[in-house]
């Protein structure tokens, strides 16, 4: 038998079952859908995050999985079995709520034992399992305390232990770190991830915080207006956003209006402002736009480099520096080029001749760093762009 609390990095266990959310719709009032046709699969052992601004339907989706809300349409399956008609107490998910919702009148041990008591696990076994789980989260010495006598981080670990002790099919976390300050959040993020890896359980996580989603998730489903707009691994979503919304919701980006000239070698040939020719990655999984269409290209600030006069790059453009801020880890410059303001983030020390406003600079990037966006209608794009440039000012 393993010693409880021991960490086996080489053989991480996976527990949990496959959760399928299939074509789920939710309307609280007839005709006004807060969740629209949401489909995703949570694989055993996977950490999947629903990321989106408030009102994007992420919490409603989680609540439907937990059983507190009833889908208007669609199926929620655990290992292929539809659980839509089961009330929350008959589903088998461990839920951690914002603020943890620990039972204030029970001790830490009683909190953790609660689910086992409800399942009529007998006294000695119940005690043993609860203590084992408390030991796993490093709180065995706190069993007799009341929740309010614990720090925020310890309360979270109790909430996790309570949600894990009955070996649920998956863990559902509803913005558990929502109300905490930044430092504690970061510490608890690693802690959740750590415990998840140790237990090997699948996690469905809901947050509006993109950093949180990036650090913790195996996959991220970005939601907007009740729909999943893109789903994929953090690098995939960050480097190859499908839409202007995803591009600007995850981190900062430059959105450049282009006209499509054609497709060559699997890359899009585009015309930037002023008929400057260039190339960009085609959007994945979406129908490629037709030549002559207007579109948007997303270009991350950290992918743009300042070029010395002799240096070359796949894509080169001249510009005039209009602003420069030194931020410690990196410097943030704003350059007037291609008819708009481009934000450039560089970790290299920029020569002082290039940091004075009005300085002429050359910028360069690789074709693959420019991502052509799908469905980037001009209106949508300009709205996003406004927000980005406002953030940059």
């Amino acid at each position: 038998m393993d010693a409880p609390g021991e960490l086996d990095l080489l053989h991480p266990r996976t527990s949990g079952r496959q959760l399928d959310v299939h074509r789920v719709w939710k309307a609280y009032a007839p005709g006004t859908y807060v969740v629209r046709d949401v489909t995703f699969t949570l694989h055993p052992g996977e950490f999947l995050t629903l990321l989106g601004p408030s009102g994007s339907g992420k919490t409603s989706t989680l609540m439907m999985v937990a059983g507190f809300e009833q889908p208007t349409e669609g199926e929620i399956r655990v290992d292929g079995k539809d659980v839509v008609d089961l009330p929350p107490e008959r589903r088998n998910f461990g839920v951690v709520f914002q603020g943890y919702a620990l039972f204030p009148h029970m001790s830490v041990l009683e909190n953790v034992e609660f689910s086992l008591r409800m399942r009529r696990v007998r006294g000695a076994t119940r005690h043993l399992r609860a203590m084992e789980m408390l030991d796993r989260v490093g709180l065995a010495g706190f069993a007799a305390r009341r929740p309010r006598e614990l720090s925020g981080g310890q309360q979270q670990r109790v909430a996790l232990a309570r949600a894990l002790v009955f070996e649920p099919d998956a863990l559902l976390l509803d913005e558990p770190l929502g109300a905490l300050d930044r430092r504690l959040r970061e510490q608890l993020q690693t802690e959740i991830k750590e415990i998840q890896r140790r237990v090997g359980i699948s996690v469905l996580f809901v947050t509006h915080d993109q950093d949180e989603a990036m650090t913790m998730s195996d996959r991220i489903a970005v939601m907007r207006d009740g729909e999943i707009v893109q789903i994929g691994s953090p690098p995939e979503i960050y480097l190859h956003p499908g839409t202007a919304f995803v591009a600007s919701f995850l981190g900062e980006t430059n959105l450049l209006p282009v006209t499509l000239a054609g497709v060559e070698n699997g890359q899009a040939v585009v015309r930037f402002h002023g008929d400057v020719l260039g190339r960009a990655r085609l959007p994945r999984g979406a129908t490629p736009p037709a030549p002559g269409d207007a579109g948007l290209v997303s270009l991350r600030p950290e992918r743009i480099r300042f070029l010395e006069t002799t240096q070359l790059a796949e894509q080169v453009t001249d510009g005039v520096l209009t602003g420069h801020t030194f931020l410690g880890r990196h410097a943030r410059s704003v350059v007037r080029s291609l008819g708009q303001s481009l934000v450039v983030s560089s970790t290299d020390v920029v020569p002082t001749s290039q940091t004075a406003p009005g300085a002429k600079v050359r910028l360069g990037w690789n074709f693959d760093d420019a991502q052509l966006l799908a469905g980037g209608s001009a209106a949508d794009g300009s709205e996003r762009q406004d927000r980005t440039s406002k953030g940059g000012a």
Binding site: F68, P88, R91, G94, V95, G99, F103, R119
Partner: protein, 265 residues
């Protein structure tokens, strides 16, 4: 400033003393009146004796009325606690159109004139041939008790129960009887207790409904006192009234202790 404040406090003290006396003395005067040696209820009492208490406790009619009153009130409080708590729990954390109407309907028994309620219930129970049954009086009293329990349980729910606790318990596998027992009950217990004490007081000295619905064998203590004061003027009235004062004092002390314990914890 300190002096001005103190003199202000003094003025307030002397101004409020007569009001306090006016409120309390008529009640307290009952006790010496109960201790009279004479056979009539009068003030000042003649001599000092416990005979009116002995008379009261040895008169089967008065004893019967006292027992009946306890019985009716206990019945009303139990029903009222169940109904009031159920209503408060049912409405807690829920938002729907017409919630205000439901809440209003629950509070109507406090607002509606007692005579109107009594008359209506009299007509209803006359048709059901239940006038003169203690159950009928208890049922109507439970209607009066319900809003008090409802209000105090509602208060303790809004103050002490995060709706996420209920969801939490359900996600951990608790079916509703367990949610009720492990989540709601600890949160509403103080509210139920104080609502019960208040409700008991309301029911125990309620005259109007009890008067309308009385029968030969169902004369509650307040109704017996009211009848006696018109025809007998016996000091038993004062003796039984002392019982009321004792009960009221006890329940106040009990509530005080409860609040104190809650404060300490």
């Amino acid at each position: 400033m300190g002096r001005a404040e103190r003199s202000g406090a003094n003025t307030l003290f002397f101004a409020s003393m007569p009001i306090l006396a006016f409120l309390l003395l008529p009640s307290l005067i009952i006790i010496p009146m109960a201790l009279t040696k004479g056979q009539l209820i009068q003030f000042p009492p003649q001599g000092l004796s416990l005979h009116s208490f002995a008379d009261y406790l040895s008169d089967p009619q008065w004893v019967h009325s006292t027992v009946l009153s306890f019985q009716v009130s206990a019945f009303a409080v139990v029903l009222g606690c169940v109904a009031g708590s159920a209503a408060a729990i049912g409405l807690h954390g829920r938002h729907f159109r017409g919630k205000g109407v439901v809440t209003g309907a629950l509070l109507v028994p406090i607002i509606i004139p007692l005579v109107v309620l009594a008359l209506g219930e009299y007509l209803l129970f006359a048709r059901l041939r239940m006038v003169g049954s203690w159950v009928a009086i208890g049922l109507v009293h439970s209607v009066l008790v319900t809003p008090y329990v409802f209000i105090s349980v509602q208060t303790s729910l809004t103050a002490g129960l995060n709706p996420a606790l209920v969801r939490s318990a359900r996600s951990l596998g608790a079916h509703w009887p367990n949610v009720l027992r492990h989540i709601y009950w600890p949160a509403i217990r103080p509210g139920v207790l104080s609502g019960a004490v208040l409700g008991f007081a309301v029911s125990f000295d309620e005259v109007v409904v009890a008067f309308f619905l009385q029968g030969p064998g169902t004369v509650t203590l307040p109704v017996r006192m009211f009848t006696a004061i018109q025809f007998e003027l016996t000091p038993k009235i004062a003796a039984s009234a002392s019982l009321f004062i004792l009960l009221a004092t006890l329940s106040l002390v009990a509530q005080g202790l409860l609040a104190f314990r809650r404060g300490v914890r």
